[in-house]
Each structure stands twice: as C-alpha cells, then as structure tokens.
Symmetry: D3
Subunit: 168 residues, 6 copies
Amino acid sequence: MKNIAVYPGSFDPVTRGHIDIIDRSYKLFDEIHIVTFINSSKSYTFSEDERVELIKKSLIEKNIPMENIIVTHSRDLVANYCKNVNASAVIKGIRNTTDFDNEFSQALLNRELVGIETLLMPTSTIFSFVSSTFVKNVAEYDGNISDFVTDAVENALKIKNADKPLVC
Amino acid sequence: MKNIAVYPGSFDPVTRGHIDIIDRSYKLFDEIHIVTFINSSKSYTFSEDERVELIKKSLIEKNIPMENIIVTHSRDLVANYCKNVNASAVIKGIRNTTDFDNEFSQALLNRELVGIETLLMPTSTIFSFVSSTFVKNVAEYDGNISDFVTDAVENALKIKNADKPLVC
Amino acid sequence: MKNIAVYPGSFDPVTRGHIDIIDRSYKLFDEIHIVTFINSSKSYTFSEDERVELIKKSLIEKNIPMENIIVTHSRDLVANYCKNVNASAVIKGIRNTTDFDNEFSQALLNRELVGIETLLMPTSTIFSFVSSTFVKNVAEYDGNISDFVTDAVENALKIKNADKPLVC
Amino acid sequence: MKNIAVYPGSFDPVTRGHIDIIDRSYKLFDEIHIVTFINSSKSYTFSEDERVELIKKSLIEKNIPMENIIVTHSRDLVANYCKNVNASAVIKGIRNTTDFDNEFSQALLNRELVGIETLLMPTSTIFSFVSSTFVKNVAEYDGNISDFVTDAVENALKIKNADKPLVC
Amino acid sequence: MKNIAVYPGSFDPVTRGHIDIIDRSYKLFDEIHIVTFINSSKSYTFSEDERVELIKKSLIEKNIPMENIIVTHSRDLVANYCKNVNASAVIKGIRNTTDFDNEFSQALLNRELVGIETLLMPTSTIFSFVSSTFVKNVAEYDGNISDFVTDAVENALKIKNADKPLVC
Amino acid sequence: MKNIAVYPGSFDPVTRGHIDIIDRSYKLFDEIHIVTFINSSKSYTFSEDERVELIKKSLIEKNIPMENIIVTHSRDLVANYCKNVNASAVIKGIRNTTDFDNEFSQALLNRELVGIETLLMPTSTIFSFVSSTFVKNVAEYDGNISDFVTDAVENALKIKNADKPLVC
C-alpha cells in the first residue's frame, strides 16, 4: 500500500518556508499532495489556479523532483480530501506556540472526522518568521522579499501590486 | 445570599463543549446564567434569539435540569451584566494557551471594572478541539458534526446551510 | 449539601499571592480546605506543621474570617483527599502559560481519578510574579520581601536563614 | 552617534499601557520616535492625525518631557522607517505569550530586512490586560475607562461614540 | 531504501500515551525503533533492561505486531543513534506548549547535528494528561492507574512500591 | 549620566547564543556588565572564575571590543547588583515561550525590588535551540559542538569531560 501524505494550506502565496517543509518531507512518503484549500470567510490575493501554479513553479525553481508530488486545489474539507485519496498523514509546519495551538486543534478534529494522523514539522530556523501575510505586507511597500519567496512568487507579487491602487 | 455564576459567550452556535461546561458547573452555584453577548465587530450565523433557543433545546436534550439555569442574551458588557444580577463569578472553559491568554486578560478587565471573579474550567479532553467555528466549517461541507453538537444544533445548521448560496 | 473546595499546594511558604487566592475564593464556597501536600521527590524549607502554621497566621494577619476555612496537611493524593472530604472543586491560582500547562494536566488527572472539577483563578496582577521560590531566593540575600509575604512568613524566613550556613 | 529608538504601533487610541512603556523607555535612549503605522487590511477608529495628537496630549498630561521624543505617523514599513531615521532599536511592550509570538516574528523579520534590533519590554502588571480594543469596547457601553486611558483619550472616545449609530 | 523512524524517550515506565503514539505511527514507516535513552543528570525508577522489557510486554498486551518494531536502549545521543541506524525521522508525541517548546529545541538540535527530521504527533486527547511522572506519583499512593498503563506496567510498579520504604 | 546595562546569567558555560546577545546589545549602552550569578540550589560544571574567564576569552575570540564591557561574577541578587552599579537596564535573550514566562516573572520581580527595567532580546534564529545544558550534553558524548560554542569553551569542555568518570 502506498504511503500518501497531504500538505494542506492557503499558500497565498507559497513561501520559502512552505517549500522547505516540502523539501524535507517528500522523501518520507511514497507520494505527497500539496493542496490549496479555501476558507469561505477569508479573501485571497491569488486565485486557486495561481496559487497552484506558483507552488509548481517554485518547486521546479528549487529543483525538487516532481515524480511523487501532486499539486492541486480542493474545495472540500481537508479531512475529506485525505480520505478520498487514501492518505495516511497530514503534514504541517509549525513555527511557534500560536501555530501549535491552531494545528493541534485542527489535527484532533481531522483525526476525529476521518481517522487521519497529523505530523507537525518544526519550521527551519531561518524561515521561522516567514509567513504569506508578512511577505505580502513587505512586498506592498516594495521591500526586498527575495529571501522569503522564490523568483516566481516575487514576480507574481510585483504584478499584483502594480495592478493595485496605492495604499491611501 | 445566593451564589450566582454567569457563563458568557457567543454560542454561535452552542457546542457539546459548551454544554459540558454547563453540566459540570451548574452544581457549584445556586444559580447559573448562560448569556449570549454580541460584539459589534463580529457577524453571527444565528440571531440572538436563535442562539438562546438552541442553548435551551440542547440543555433539555441532554437532560440538564433547568430550575437554577437562566438562558438569556444581553447587549451590555459582560462586567455590567454580572453586576446587575449580583453575580459572584464568571465561568469560562479553556482549551489551550491561546484561550488562556484571551480569558486571562478578559478576567482581569472584568475584575477591574466591577470586582467580579472569573473561574476558568479546563474543557473535557474529548471536546478540547471543538469550537463553533470548526463546527460551522465542517457543516458547510456536509461533514458529520453529531459528535460536536446536539441534534437541535445539527438540524439548525442544516437549515442555515440549505438557505445559503454555495461556496464559490 | 455543602459546597466544599480544596486549595492544594506546597505553600513552602505561603505568599501574599496564595492569600489573595484564598481571600477571593472562600466566599464562593460553604467551606474551603487549604491543604499542604508533599511530593516525595521535592525537599522543603518548612516542615508540614510549620507550613500549616504560617498559613493560619497569615490569614489572621490579613483578617480573613476563619469560620469556614480549614487549614491542614495531607500525605495522600490531592484527588483522594478531595474524595474523602466530599469536595466539589479544587481551586488553583494561575499566573502564566507554564502554570496553565501544569494545572491543566493535573486538573484532567484529578477529574479522571475521582471526578473532581478544578477551577483555575487568575492571580491578581500585582502578585503575578510572586512565587515561594522567588521569595526564598530574595530572603536568602536579605532582600526586602514584605510586599510578597506576611509578617509571620517574613520572620519565619529570617530565622531559617539565620540558622543556615552562608551561601558559599 | 545618537542612540535612537522607535516605538511603533497602531495607537488606536494610545492607552496608559503604551504611555507606561514610553515613560519607562525614553530615558534609555538619546531620542525616541513614537510612530503610528497603518496596516492596509485593518480599519481604524481614529485617523492618523488624531492618533498622533492623542499621543502628544497624553504625554503632556502625564508630564513626560518632550525634548527627546518625536511623535509622528508613517505609511512605510516599520523596518524602512527605522533605517531612514538611523534608529538602533525598536521598542515593544509585551503582555503575554500571544503578544510574544507576534512580536518575536516581527522582530526577526525587521532584523532580516534592515538589521534593526528589537527590545521587548514587559508591560507593567497593572496594565497587563489593557488594549486599545478592550478600551474601545468598554467605552462603547459607557463603561468607565479612566484607569486605562488619559483624559484626552477618554474625551475623544466619548465624542466618537456620540457620533456613532447605536449598536443595532 | 527503508524508511526508518526512531521514537526516543525515557519510558520510565512506558504509558498508554506512549503506546498510543507507537500504535498510530508504526504503519507510517518501514521500521520503527523504540529506544530508551539515559540522561546522566536524571535518576530512574526502572533499569534500562526493565524499561525495554515493559515496552515489549505492553506492545504484546495491546496486540501491536512486532515484525517491524525494534525495542532497545542506547547510551549514545539520540542524534547519533539515528545516524547509526540510518533513520529518516524522529517521532515524538506532544501534549501541550511546554512539551512543544522542549521538543522544538531538541528537534532543531538533532537536525543541526546529523540532519535528521523530527515529526511531532499530537497525543490522543484521552491521554493528554498522562505522563510517567503522574503515573508513578499515583501508584505511590495506591491510586488506580489501569487507565494510564498496561497491566505489565501496573504490576511492575506494584512490585517497585512494595520494595520501597514508605513515604515519610 | 552613563547608560549601564547588566546581562546576568549562569553562563555555565557561555554559548555562541550568549555571545550573539552581547554582540548585538553592547552598542546600545555606554557600558555593559556581563555577570555570572550563582543559585544556591544549582550545581555548576565550571567555577565562577572559569565561567568569567571563558566569557572573556570568547569575546576576544569573536573580536568584540572590550572597552565598555565588564565581565565579572557576583554572589548577590541580580537586582542588588544592578542597583549597586547604577544600571538602567537588565538585558536577557529569549528563545521561546518557556523562556518568556521565566524572564517575564524575573523582570517584574527585579523592577519591584529596585526599579530596574528589563529588555528582552529575541535570540538569533540560528541559535534559537542552543543552551548550555544542550551543549554539555552533546559534549559528554563527544558530539561536535563547534557551531554552538567558541574554541575556548570547546577546549574547556573537553578537559572537563576527560577528567570525568564515564557515564555508567
């Protein structure tokens, strides 16, 4: 039986912190699904297709072999997606205790719903403060984000910000 | 003098975690008030009347005796409500350190405002990941929520979701 | 039926923080037991009798009425003590998330063992940093501890330290 | 070389907790800049000019000498502002672990962006639960906020609330 | 290449919480090593051989298939052990933020030392408060520990406590 | 008036994490005192003189200018030492929420005792998991500690471990 892991997230957009988690975890499983989910109460900077595309481009840019990696989006519950693809584990990166509290509750919920396990992976120290929100905030002010995202994402954010009316 | 406790919350909607707190705390006091409050910066799925109604129905469903339990809603500050009914304590359930930080600050504020004490009660382990937000999110995708809410709430959520336009 | 609470601790020695918890909680119950317990893996500065004595003297010094307060020591488990006296709740003060993690686990254990509830009470802000360990450490260097402990405890610590060989 | 610190925030509005941080930190530096920043995803109760004005009035009310204190607003990144004024440190108050997680990430980001250090200062215990959000919430219900904000801010909030349509 | 995980610990003695982690994780890997380590600054209730023996007996008692499970002890660093057996991951259970802080630091250290990844697994809610220390403490007072440990461990603790001089 | 900071600690032994805090903070003050303190309930690997010596050697090794840096030891309370040298601030590094809880309480105590402020400085990410205890533990097993301590400390630990009887 194949050992399948699911790495769910907003990935709005994917950061070097996310890519690092993928790079460190894909060897531990026969197949890994990187899946963008949507939360009806949030609004997103990038569309689902754009988010998937930026993940793919970032993985290629970082020379991560794509054979056993599936990148896709879903409008279902994380738990349901996992059940449908017969996954044995959810992978999540954690940076601090606030992340931990969130992921802990989410992990218990998913286990209750479909019996899926969650494996929490400490973020690499150099990415411990990187989040999609921080990256977008810095990009909005033309700050340098090349340490936090791949070139593909940096360019995509430049285009988004060029289209946007100025703050104030 | 009667020993009165107030259990404040959004209860949007009430979960089995909330009911568990009520079930464990009502015997410790002569009277307990379960009160839905509103926060002008939040939007709610259920109206105040609906939330009160669902609490009442859930208590009956769980066979909790209603003699010394008052279920109501308020548009005042929690602190003011407590003072008006001469309460000696606020009751709150806590699941993790994020809850703890929030409730700790709120407890100190309420004590400063009207001298009321707050008693924090650890959530039962089996409900430690249950929140109104999680429940609504699962229900939105037709996930099974019967372990997390009473039948009354499950039905009410089904009706709400049937009325709602589809996500996307 | 009498509503009995147990406030367990090392109380080695009792601080103004502990007294504050007693002062704020004794009115919420018909009877409150303040009980010093021993942990076989710890060593104590004061004997069980001394610790009980210092609690009693401190309560008198602070004019807290003793009618419904029992101060005693026990060599049993907290859970067993509670069951034996028919207590309905354990009271504990909490200062921060480290306290919270400890008391949360202990509360769940005690509930599992004998069905007793635990009510966690936020420490008053002015005592949020006071602990028996801090007090003893400051006293060892002849620092001023009168804001942190009653006169009875301050004197008892002076005598203890006079008897002790100098640090180094 | 002058030792310059920047104290950034929303200050919407400034509280006695903020003023306390300023009062305790301005002596440690040759110059301190108190700067209101804006976050394009938040909405504010007070305009940038009002927030700056309320900080100035509050400092005067508390008799804090203004010689080496600059109060201003910025629409840049905190990191960029610091670099532009040649600051050697960012000052932030912290109340609890949730604050800590936020400020820790922000501190690491700012250091990465422009090499600026962040010094975290524990809030005074008596203000440990005071936040702009709490203050506005209490004011909305005509609660007494004079322990939490200066007279200038109290009056400004009264005027704001008089202008506002009633909650529901 | 075989995917090997190491589950390190004191296991002094193994609890149902540990067994639960093993039961949930062994299917995710081709081989799992459960290894008791020693910390020269700690003293232990059970010898290394006894701890290994109790893990084995507990796994059999719980009908966990032993084909791909190795139970052993080591006097090396966790990181070195992992490198020697060519492990790809360390598995650890976490119950709360205190656990998280410890395991996070340990995970970063091990990764720095030998490049090994650590996967943190949330403890099942029903075991969230169970620790070897709690279990030994309850057993010392003849409390009922059958919900927390296997029969093998319960008996072993009874024998240990019978041999021990009474507390006080 | 000179702006003096005190950086207190066990420094048993000093790590690259400590040196990093010194390197980042000494420019913010006119004078910085690095002071090893003793806690009568702890036992130390290095004597007070050795610890002071290793700090000095490490600073020289890292080319940190010593003009305004005083390295010494004290057997007084941190608060008293600060008062005696007319310090305006205590500096402490923090790595996570457990550190934060400890330092927060200590900071409030020191402020209460002698009015001294404490400035908490986030540890650099690359040292976020480094502690004296970890370093000694790794050294005990001949692990490579050169990323965590200076050459001076590495050599001193080798000599200590050579003198020590083997573990077990």
